[in-house]
Symmetry: D2
Subunit: 337 residues, 4 copies
């Protein structure tokens, strides 16, 4: 970290240096004609950059070291490959996670699981606990939904991915293969810490208005407690555009892969909220270098009106998979086995 | 709620109407030359507007009823006045909540409590559990910090306001007068539901990139479970501006007061992250019609460098209070007694 | 357009209706239990939706007709194919526009033109008049730069694309094949009107914080004056992310193609500002259904340090073209001939 | 400007240094344990920070000098006071600019001018050339509107403020006292340059999604050409909030006054687009330290329905002025004389 000291406050710099040294860091001073620069040497990840930059004598602060360590590719150059119920995620493996928005019935979840498995899906997704903006909206089937997911897992052999919202329910997630943290909980730090003590792979969705650095800091929360099996998921950010519910940020994919060794996948269904955008954005995500896709698939979107919005039918999913297979060699990837 | 049906999909409208009726609602049809409009009659708050608007046959959806009921001024025209440890909040009462960012020691918290009480503060704030972007940053004194706050309450008589991050610690908050939900937890729905079953006043901060409607829906989560003592707090939203950490949205104040009967206060300290902006933005908040202020005050910002950033000294707080007292009559308010 | 009238203001609706009729529109009234709806019949594109929605008696306004007509796919279902110097743009044609950020010398522009032509580029881009945030930064070679572009056109046969910033220089653009309007001028309405009277194809970049509807309204400005040869260009929008200069909004591509018959291409160079993101985002743009790419290519990015940032070398461009050719059949497109 | 060089690219730094020296700057090197820092000495305002920061060998760039000079308070510590038709703007003077959105008729403009003058307005505003999102919307009375403004000036003695959209009409603005540049033209650099050669005071509105630094750079464009009479105007920025058209950024006021010596006023009418928000936001703007207000006032908002949205009536304006007069002494200001 580099601190640039205001010219007219140079005399007070000694006090600041003492405070920095009191935090176990060393300093390297450099005085130019108009500027005094204080370089901090040591582990600055515990320093609050906002606080320092608002000190009166500080003109500006520039972090050099990234504030994340375990997630940082600089310290772990090789791609992390995570095993989730036997499926390899990361490296040159491309994975397909598919399934309905909400688990509704045993018949529904098994039927969809069988369909997406046939098209090549590696894992089954399905919501049991649903985060809803309104307290009056359907909140998911809860524990019963989890039971139905497990039945579908047994019936098809597909590992399951589902969201946790309350750490007190963690014991219910024992047979889940990947635990998902939703966008609105990306900075629910107590939930992150608790999952950091689990040994389950965690699918960490990016918050609606969060930067990539904040996202990686949330991954770091989980990793710092011991669980390094974090899979990142880009699912659209909030912008001024209204035709789509959110704006899928595909340029985040190559950036994230530069900054971290963790796998990063894309959710094209939640990003736009429109089923007809799922095919083009799935292809684009594969072309941008994503490590996989998580897609909402429904057996009969018209019948279950309330789920039809962003879900595609199995035949559309099948067509996407076939096209993705043409793109993967261009980006040095192949479907995970 | 009004649904506008696509011209070329009119034939399929029957199916949609059956689905709507299946949810206990009635419909009112209106066919214009180029447009078919379906008006929904009944309680539409349980309908998911995103889902409906993405149905193929729906051109557009317009909500008429607000999706919040208990928080809605239409159904409760009079201002709600909340009693927090004997302090009246809302109506034409203006309150002052002041105290340090973090509780650091018994001496510190009592000294500040005495100083701000002398200037007219009604309640003492102080962080014990701190939400931090980095897992390596100081996470607050925790339970011990809560104990020190209680000592300051005993010493000065000021009620206390502090943040909860994990519902499992609720029992520790028994002597707290107002429980705060931080911006990053505004859509931590499980936390909202649990506090909805408490009888403590809740200070609900607005999320960094949330709309006013989402904020009111989070208030509704708490109220729908039985706890109607919700105080809203505007604390700055994320924008493209970098000189300030966030952008204080003061136009939210008159808007919120139109839409809801709940009190709304302003946090000028977190909004900008700069102590020198606290005085002008405090006056502006009072002039905009806020029901109060929550301000970070520190006894020695220079000594405790890490807190100096957005905290002001007691004498600055005192000067703000004096100026606010000139503004309050202009907006029909007076300091709470 | 549908107006929803406030329940307690129903009595004043007559005045509003008279005002509407005075603007040549007819109305269709629909009274529900709690709501009065006024449907406007006729051409509402001249009505200011912001003004109407803020009238006291109006609860809400919902536009049904899009405010753009000539750009609207509803009225022109077939793709528009534009001829720019013999190159077909739109339909199932995919075009490649390439060249340096700024024209620097005759040697430079011709060398690059030859290189990109060899790889398959259809048109040459190059900046002569440069929009710069700072008045002290290099503003481009101006008229002299235009002359050098024309020499490159003569030498290679490639049509040229370059930006106009001041309508008074239009006469200089006579031999230019596509005139570009930059992002910061997207709502420079006087410039749009003037180019609407030209017969040159116009490349209209999306503004940094503009919605798709505003972008189409700017296209409509040009078309309403008679020039229907508008090519849209997505070049990244402003978000909270800092690793990239802007965030490329690829979901805009399928949305724009739904709403309008005009071609839409992607500029991956300006979007991120990072040359290493150009390859993945070019492939992603093709996979998302874009009608082409406009890419900054430089002959020696290291030598000309100041241009190296977002420009790629010719060999990288060549590799992108080869990979794009694999993707195009998946989206029903082929390189323009 | 400080450049932080990537550890593994140190060997290439010589080339960069040569390039920097070739631009007339000197360098100051500082090598820490893990970091090489290059400090640039001299006038770095011509360097493009985006370009440099994207060079391969550069880890990060930190500007120390602000890129604006003439607008910079560091070099001009005293407030600039601008004389506009005899009215002093800046320093401890507070000004009131009021008038209708659009000039409609001689009777209208004179009637409003007389009313606002009586309440204390210093200058009359009124739109003749109107920037409209839609080409089909009313574009203002144009030159005829300017003539009517001049008649109102003659009748009341109030100086006039009106917007220019096309530099070719500059000759029509000879009797205008302050020429306004609208938000959408804030980065119409050619317009800025041309007004930089005029001697008229310029009211420069902040762009909808522009940072304060970009705003000051646009002021610098005007000043760099010789015209230092620039008045800044905060008019709301685009955010995710929909209840208001834009979000008034009042924290920009104290920040701008720190960074520049130029006056800065507030437009509460355009910011929210809602007339009922004009009173609270006017008071808040005064309390935040603004140098004045520009308010839309209409003689009969109900009659002229299309203007009623964000305009207030003269009696409301009068009440605002009276309340503002109570606030001004708190911030060390008084109405301009």
């Amino acid at each position: 970290m580099i601190l640039i000291i205001k010219n007219d406050k140079k005399d007070e710099v000694g006090k600041l240096i003492n405070w920095i040294k009191g935090r176990g860091l060393d300093v390297h001073m450099s005085e130019g004609e108009n500027t005094t620069i204080v370089g901090l040497i040591g582990d600055t990840s515990k320093l609050d950059i906002d606080l320092i930059s608002s000190l009166d004598i500080v003109e500006a602060v520039k972090r050099i070291q990234e504030p994340y360590k375990k997630a940082n590719r600089k310290f772990h150059p090789a791609d992390t490959v995570i095993d989730a119920g036997g499926v390899k995620i990361g490296g040159n493996n491309f994975i397909l996670i598919a399934g309905p928005c909400s688990v509704e019935s045993e018949e529904q979840i098994i039927e969809i699981a069988e369909a997406v498995k046939k098209s090549g899906a590696h894992l089954l997704r399905g919501g049991a606990f649903k985060p809803r903006t309104s307290p009056y909206a359907f909140q998911g089937m809860g524990a019963e939904g989890l039971e139905l997911l497990k039945k579908a897992k047994k019936a098809t052999g597909l590992g399951i991915v589902t969201e946790i919202m309350n750490i007190n329910y963690l014991s219910l997630f024992q047979d889940v293969d990947i635990i998902q943290i939703g966008a609105r909980n990306m900075q629910n730090f107590d939930l992150l810490k608790e999952l950091g003590q689990s040994d389950k792979p965690v699918l960490l969705k990016r918050g609606l208005a969060n930067t990539i650095e904040e996202w990686l800091m949330s991954a770091e929360y989980i990793m710092s407690k011991g669980n390094e099996k974090v899979i990142l998921c880009e699912r659209g950010i909030r912008t001024f555009e209204h035709f789509t519910r959110n704006t899928l940020d595909l340029s985040a994919i190559p950036i994230v892969k530069e900054l971290t060794h963790l796998p990063v996948i894309v959710d094209p269904s939640h990003a736009s909220g429109l089923s007809r955008l799922v095919p083009p954005m799935s292809l684009a995500a594969a072309a941008a270098g994503s490590d996989g896709l998580i897609i909402e698939v429904h057996n009969d979107p018209t019948k279950a009106l309330c789920d039809g919005a962003q879900s595609i039918k199995p035949d559309i999913f099948d067509a996407i998979v076939k096209k993705v297979s043409v793109i993967l060699p261009l980006v040095g990837k192949a479907f995970s086995k």
